[in-house]
């Protein structure tokens, strides 16, 4: 226990070797040895497993045992076999002190001042050259992508584009049964991310759309909306036929198909744009034009 006389007495910190082990140390040493032996066995086991074709679960377990065995051994060593004494170390001043700072400041004035102080014109030009070159070096960044231009506001849908499914097969009137829906694309652009639309066969008389938009709904039952959520762009893949609502599985925005796909719950703020449809002479669905608004999530110049 505490003895104030020891306060000034120097002790040798080197771990004394060759001292007698106590009983608990002997136990600890035995345990560490067992842990290391287990690690060796697991390591050998890994060879066997690997060369006999590999097996993920067994490999994981053996790796864990090998690493764990080593860890246990070192842990025991640290806790029981080391002369683990608490040690006090003095902190040193973090700062160089006022004198040190002053000396550096003087050095700056003496060494740096004379070099650049009398060359103010050159310095200004140096800054200018650095700036110009710096900006020019940023130019390759512009090569990373095309100018956005109009690309976010248009899709491949054109007046007269045939409505096809993902395999490219034309879609006929009444091919989708009532209460059913189908992901459709413009002919020649199957799978196009921005053109994906949902063709929904709604119950007759259930649509509440203004006349100009009803003109794009063949038979009053075949309505098509963009499949890209206006919130964060996920495909709006879930349809509840009984309530005629679309649900985005990512953030649960819900859209009322009967009422122009207006959002009625969740984070989406804008309706899904409608794709105006018509029918050709062979009862095949065709588009009357592009969507009535930019598809997908909002962007800065969306309304411009």
């Amino acid at each position: 226990m505490t003895d104030s006389d020891q306060g000034s007495e120097r002790v040798d910190v080197d771990r004394q070797s060759g001292t007698e082990l106590t009983g608990s140390q002997r136990t600890a040493e035995r345990r560490a040895a067992i842990a290391l032996a287990v690690a060796i066995v697991a390591g050998v086991g890994l060879f066997v497993v690997y060369f006999s074709g590999g097996q993920t679960q067994v490999e994981g377990i053996l790796f864990a045992i090998a690493f764990g065995g080593l860890g246990v051994a070192l842990g025991i060593w640290a806790n029981h076999l080391l002369d683990a004494r608490e040690v006090v170390e003095e902190r040193h001043e973090l700062t160089s002190g006022p004198a040190g700072r002053q000396a550096f400041e003087d050095a700056l004035v003496q060494e740096v001042g004379p070099v650049i102080g009398r060359r103010s014109l050159l310095l200004k030009l140096l800054a200018g050259a650095g700036g110009a070159l710096g900006l020019a070096l940023l130019l390759p960044v512009l090569s990373l992508g095309p100018a956005p231009g109009n690309s976010l506001k248009v899709t491949p849908w054109r007046r007269g584009s045939g409505v096809v499914d993902e395999e490219g097969e034309p879609v006929q009137l009444n091919q989708v049964p009532e209460n059913g829906f189908l992901t459709v694309f413009p002919e020649g652009h199957e799978g196009a991310a921005d053109a994906q639309a949902l063709l929904i066969h709604v119950r007759p008389g259930s649509l509440k759309l203004p006349p100009d938009r009803m003109a794009g709904v063949p038979e009053g039952t075949h309505v098509a909306y963009s499949k890209i959520c206006t919130h964060a762009g996920c495909p709006v893949g879930l349809y509840r036929a009984e309530s005629q609502s679309l649900i985005c599985p990512c953030h649960q925005s819900q859209f009322d198909v009967s009422d122009g796909a207006k959002p009625f719950f969740g984070p989406a703020a804008r309706p899904l744009p409608q794709l105006p449809l018509g029918v050709d002479d062979e009862n095949i669905l065709v588009a009357q034009g592009d969507f009535d608004a930019p598809v997908g999530p909002a962007f800065w110049d969306r309304g411009r």
Binding site: V11, T56, F63, E89, D194, G266
Partner: protein, 472 residues
């Protein structure tokens, strides 16, 4: 043997003069407390990430070129998939130990971010960020951001359906940046989603740019730690002027290596036994397909939840649009992480405490800071829960709308409540004068300036009761 060591030491010292520095380093003292190991867990998870990740790069193909899958996984045979997806399937099913490496890598990434977050909480709640450690706080917050970026880019590389959807949402978020969003998005993604360059760009970010910054900052983080010496909890013999603990050699070295081995063991066990990110079940990325329910890795959960909680308010000003995505996914994280980054300076403005601190606060002694911290964690936790609103809806058999409504109200009320309760608990604990048991030896060694050691008695500090050491 001794001869050889002597000669090689002489060789190095004569050229680099490192002997006395090395001797000092061996004897450097680190305080001993379990919570000081949290950062080490992050470091060791990073070690595992580097080794497993290097292995993965030898097999991964960063390309969206279409190929036909004809490997051993029957359900996908003949499917048109991207070269990236194909290479990850090959790695998982055909490369020996490949699946173990891949799963261990993924688990290590989850543990890496988790350990960083818990370490950050320890630093925050104990006031370890105070002067002179504000700079290292900044470095640490930078490391957190890099870790999140590293996680997200890595998660997106397999080009599976789930991560493709995540990428699509990220695209919507960058589009929502006011003024420059469209341009930033096109430069980053190489055009309208899904532009073919994005996978190879993510790969460069994931294996070169972010890791290089990450490792550089880890170096700075540790260098500053060594330079400033570690903080310590108050206790007998511990002052603002000293460090009481164990020496780097042998105690801390043994403990740290032991911890490294344990972290590796746990990660290998998880990687071997706990299936993670089974991309063959999600299927390849197809831009018009989606899976449900869809949850990202845990550390992106709060952001996904924020998007689910967000109000459906978009704004049109002079014909320009501010997306509804802006509020939850840009403004909220901007403010939250802004406060986190600037916290040392924000707190100083109120406490006017400019003194140097090497002794840590106990959370109960700073009830306002502790309350703000728990309130902030509550905000993130509610958002994280909302990220699984569809799962909770099914589990609890309530409509997903109800879950969202409840969590929207909680987001307003719960942080206030958490603050008040935390404050009250802290005050109560402080009043009770209960102190955690301290295990101190009666005698300590003290290191003097020559590098020698002295024994120091442990007289109780003035005004304190003398505590009996728990161990002789």
């Amino acid at each position: 043997m001794t001869m050889m060591i002597e000669r090689s030491l002489k060789y190095v010292d004569e050229r680099l003069g490192t002997a006395s520095l090395a001797r000092k380093t061996l004897r450097k003292v680190f305080p001993d407390h379990w919570s000081f190991l949290l950062g080490e867990i992050a470091l060791f998870a990073l070690v595992v990430l580097i080794f497993t990740g290097t292995f993965l790069t030898f097999f991964y193909t960063p390309s969206v070129q279409e190929v036909t899958y004809n490997g051993p996984y029957a359900p996908l045979q003949g499917a048109e998939v991207s070269a990236a997806y194909n290479s990850v399937l090959r790695l998982s099913f055909e490369v020996r130990a490949g699946l173990l490496m891949r799963q261990t890598h993924h688990w290590a990434a989850l543990v890496f971010v988790a350990a960083i977050v818990v370490h950050l909480c320890r630093v925050f709640f104990t006031g370890a960020f105070r002067r002179p450690r504000e700079v290292n706080w900044l470095v640490g917050v930078g490391l957190l951001f890099l870790a999140l970026g590293e996680g997200f880019t890595g998660y997106s590389l397999p080009d599976d359906l789930l991560s493709g959807i995540g990428l699509r949402i990220f695209y919507a978020v960058t589009l929502a940046i006011p003024v420059v969003g469209t341009w930033v998005t096109y430069l980053l993604f190489g055009g309208e989603f899904p532009a073919p360059d994005i996978i190879s760009r993510l790969f460069v970010f994931h294996i070169m740019l972010i890791p290089a910054l990450l490792l550089a900052l880890v170096g700075v983080h540790l260098a500053i730690l060594v330079l400033q010496k570690h903080t310590q909890f108050p206790g007998h013999g511990r002052t603002e002027r000293n460090v009481v603990g164990k020496r780097l050699w042998p105690e801390q070295t043994f403990k740290s290596v032991s911890l490294l081995l344990f972290v590796t063991a746990v990660l290998a066990l998880l990687g071997g036994l706990a299936q993670i990110n089974p991309i063959w079940q999600y299927g390849p990325f197809v831009p018009f397909n989606v899976s449900s329910p869809a949850q990202p890795d845990w550390y992106i959960g709060f952001l996904d939840g924020a998007l689910r909680l967000g109000p459906p308010w978009d704004l049109t000003l002079w014909g320009f649009t501010i997306s509804e995505v802006f509020w939850p996914a840009i403004l909220f994280p901007g403010i939250a992480f802004g406060i986190l980054t600037l916290w040392p300076w924000i707190e100083r403005r109120f406490t006017r405490d400019r003194a140097e601190h090497h002794l840590l606060d106990r959370p109960r002694d700073t009830p306002v800071r502790t309350g703000i911290g728990t309130a902030g964690l509550t905000v993130f936790f509610i958002m994280f829960l909302e990220g699984g609103n569809d799962i909770f809806g099914v589990l609890l058999n309530v409509p997903v709308e109800t879950v969202t409504r409840i969590l929207q109200w909680s987001l307003v009320l719960a942080p206030i409540l958490t603050f008040l309760v935390t404050y009250w608990i802290c005050k109560g604990l402080s009043r009770s004068r209960l102190r955690p048991a301290e295990i101190n030896a009666g005698v300590r060694l003290s290191r003097d300036h020559d590098g020698g050691y002295e024994t120091v008695s442990l007289e109780p500090a003035e005004g304190e009761e003398k505590l009996e050491p728990a161990e002789p």
